[in-house]
């Protein structure tokens, strides 16, 4: 429809005078100012007090353990063949369990991060159960599933794979309790990557697998590495499931427990201190990864 009447336009021109002088706030903030800005959010003082209390609660016992350790007798500890063997078994088993967790956990974590399938919340919940139950219970569950008298355990034994009280059992117990940690970390890492990056890669000729390998995996690598490190540390520190599934060969945590029950605190402290040092290495590794990411 066309309007045929004539309309007049009225209005006043408005002139804005722009001040082109540089505003004072345009100066780049100094390092001191930045620090001050970070603290200017208004943190209640009670938080600092409570945080200090918690830090003391965590650090205190560990520090005391390290101070109790007879470091003057470090040579004795380093020359302890039984401890050497236990640490070696622990490191190899934990590393194998971590590889297993990563190998099976990455596909599951990616599916959970990308696919909205029926029953996903159930799968997400179930996968976390090993972390939520007492670890001896996890060990009992594994025993019930993989014991020699069970279908699976019997089938494995038939092809020469012994689980209970063998190194395989150690790896299985460690992987069972530590894999959920890896899956959570990997899922978060994948969720932090925009799926449209993968879609762009697909339009550039990638199959789903090559888009995953060339884009998703490299971008998630730090999150995956951090997850693997925590998973490995969890496997190293496992005790409850291991004593049920594979008391022998003895891992460090079982050896320390043995020595505590037979020789008391003095017998357990040196080996326990070594495990705390391993944990410190892990913390250092995580800090390094975070710094690289940040």
């Amino acid at each position: 429809m066309a309007a045929s009447s004539k309309l007049s336009r009225r209005g006043r021109e408005r002139v804005s005078i722009l001040d082109d002088s540089k505003p004072a706030s345009a100066d780049p903030p100094t390092a001191t100012a930045k620090r001050r800005t970070r603290a200017d959010g208004g943190t209640p003082r009670i938080f600092a007090l409570l945080a200090a209390g918690l830090a003391l609660f965590i650090i205190g016992p560990l520090l005391k353990l390290l101070l109790l350790s007879p470091w003057s007798g470090l040579g004795d500890v380093l020359g302890d063949g039984e401890l050497h063997a236990a640490i070696l078994v622990t490191l190899v088993s934990a590393s194998t369990a971590t590889l297993l967790a990563a190998g099976l956990g990455i596909p599951l974590a990616f599916l959970l991060a990308r696919r909205d399938f029926r029953g996903r919340p159930l799968v997400e919940g179930m996968i976390q159960i090993p972390v939520l139950i007492p670890h001896p219970v996890a060990g009992i569950a594994l025993l019930a599933f993989l014991g020699r008298d069970t279908v699976v355990g019997g089938a494995l034994a038939a092809i020469g794979i012994e689980v209970i009280n063998h190194a395989v059992g150690l790896v299985v117990a460690m992987a069972f309790v530590a894999t959920p940690i890896f899956v959570s970390a990997a899922q978060s890492a994948f969720q932090s990557i925009d799926p449209r990056l993968e879609r762009v890669a697909r339009t550039l000729g990638d199959t789903p697998w090559s888009a995953f390998r060339r884009i998703t995996l490299p971008l998630a690598r730090r999150g995956l590495a951090a997850g693997a490190l925590v998973t490995w540390a969890r496997a190293v520190s496992e005790f409850g499931a291991i004593v049920v599934v594979a008391y022998h060969p003895r891992v460090a945590s079982v050896l320390i427990y043995d020595r505590l029950t037979t020789d008391g605190l003095a017998g357990a402290v040196p080996a326990a201190s070594l495990l705390v040092l391993v944990a410190l290495v892990v913390v250092g590794g995580l800090a390094f990864l975070n710094r690289r990411t940040g």
Partner: protein, 274 residues
Amino acid sequence: MIALEQIAFERGGFRLEAAELIVPEGGYAAVIGPTGSGKTTLLELIAGHLAPARGTIRIGSRPMLGVPPEARGVGMVYQRHFLFPHLDVRANLGYGLRGRADRSARVTEVSELVEVRELLDRSVETLSGGERQRVALGRALAAAPSVLLLDEPLASLDPAGRRRLRTLLRRIHETEGTTVVHVTHDFEDALELAAQVAVMVSGRLVQQGKPVEVFRTPASPFVAEFIGSGNVLAGVVTADDDGMARFTTEALTLEVVDERRGRCHAMIRPEEIR
């Protein structure tokens, strides 16, 4: 050529229905509409990232049912560029050229086309918004796709960046001859670049035509307001005793030349006021 026929897609309560959209070989189509109207979904259906519940999509003469994105010969540029952050500009541009003997030469050629030659060895993290978008465009063009899908590529740029990329898009379309579907919420992009416009509202293509046609004869008050055709007034057209028609609103009465009577909307274009 791209042809969409009777497409239906539904997800999370949102329904998209595209009765027909045909972009001829080498054509430049703009799909405009407000945020959430389904424009990006339409592009992702064409690219093969989403599968329609029914209908057919053809690129060239090939039906795309079951054809994965990597086999469709489409290039896609999103509003937020989505450059691969772990690769430098050169690797981003050459991403789709893996295994090709002319990869290096093609990367150089495309870098000149999108005016990023001097940035080839830079990390994409250090680029400005306009530079990133030009690299994303070059990356999509490098493998010479038959169809280029643009999802609001100008939306996040400053005015100077928009002008530069618009000019670049026009030149690339003229020289490369790629069929383009350009999603935008800015009708100015359509007016300047496209030969045809499709207006999408709430998951439906409500109007199609040449940009000027859509601008001059919008199909509904919503389309008129959205594309900024002019001031849209609601009122009533009545006939005078002398046979003249009058359009009356609460605020004014205008004499009009029109056969219709009753409730309607009238559009007043500022450039036609004398």
